[in-house]
Amino acid sequence: MNDPTLIGPCADYEHDLVELHDGALPPERAGIVRLHVTQCARCRDWAQAFASLDTGLAAAMPRVGLSADFEARLQERLAAPSRPTARGDRLGRLELEREHDALLAALRRGARRNALLGAIGSATAAACVFVAARDLLRETSGLLATVPGSTEPWMMFSVVGVAVAIAGLAWSAVRGALPLPGLAR
């Protein structure tokens, strides 16, 4: 059996036959090709087989179209550009959760670092004041003892120590360096 798809058309006319079928052949050439087809069985059979395939493909191609709300959804997306698409919702949510967790971890790290620095700072300041106060008290103990109603040196020493501790805590609190319960999750 002469299968036109296997034998093929005349080589000179193959492309022209396709373009003639698609309506893309210039009129003058189209006339020549049409005349040839009337005289050549091979080209005629091949053109018919091609037309059959073309019709089949056109019919087989799904008729797809955009949803009616395409533009409305696009406008919504443009109004909130970071919002993920419906298909990306799950991935988007996971990504947001990851970002949220990373942010919290960074905050906790920062708070820990600040608390540590605050504690070191407070201890150093307290030690310096403690040493200075001790020397001062040692030098002025004679004078203090001569003042009537004056406090004992050790009490002065304690008062200065408490004041330094309060000052250290206040400084840490102002800097937000204290590990407050609100940050722990």
Binding site: L53, G56, V64, F70, R73, L74, R77, R87
Partner: protein, 182 residues
């Protein structure tokens, strides 16, 4: 159509230009995305993503290429990124690759109602990816060579060649007599 858009662009009225761009290009952008992704929902998502990118990049559009060429290039890039996201290791250029065939089958629309059409679509899946795209787009665009050339960013002659080779191969594969008997 593009003249009005370009006037707005030239005047720096990007929002007004964009308002004209979407209705003018949305269907062709969607069909191009569908011809590449072979899935209606994915094509619609890609079309949305394309217009979001167009919206962001419109102020930087310099007019060196035509607006359509520029938009279709964004569409193709968006679709290629989607394909890479799905199957990063698959080469779609190798139609004989088992993985490529599985990937293609997994993204193809459900079987056509007519067995003859179903058979043709299955045969189409066996062709090289660029031929598949050209054929799909050609029929989605009512057999317009010019539309296919513009949307795929190829010279007209290349598109004609691709379509010719693809359909000739399909003729050989389909054997009209067998298709009719199916």
């Amino acid at each position: 159509m593009d003249a009005g858009i370009e006037q707005h662009l030239a005047a720096g009225r990007h929002a007004r230009a964009f308002d004209l761009v979407v209705p003018a290009y949305k269907d062709r952008v969607f069909r191009l995305a569908y011809s590449i992704l072979k899935d209606r929902a994915a094509a619609e998502d890609a079309a949305q993503e394309t217009f979001v990118r167009v919206w962001k990049a419109l102020p930087g559009f310099d007019g060196r290429a035509s607006l359509g060429t520029w938009i279709y290039a964004i569409t193709r890039n968006t679709c290629l990124m989607e394909l890479r996201r799905r199957r990063p290791t698959v080469s779609f250029d190798d139609p004989d690759s088992t993985e490529a065939q599985h990937a293609a089958a997994s993204v193809a629309t459900g079987p056509a109602a007519d067995p003859e059409h179903d058979n043709l679509l299955r045969l189409l899946e066996t062709l090289p990816h660029n031929q598949q795209e050209a054929v799909r787009l050609f029929y989605l665009e009512d057999r317009s060579y010019d539309a296919v050339a513009e949307q795929l960013g190829m010279p007209l002659g290349t598109v004609k060649n691709l379509l010719h080779r693809a359909r000739k191969r399909l003729m050989e594969l389909a054997r009209p007599d067998e298709v009719k008997a199916a």
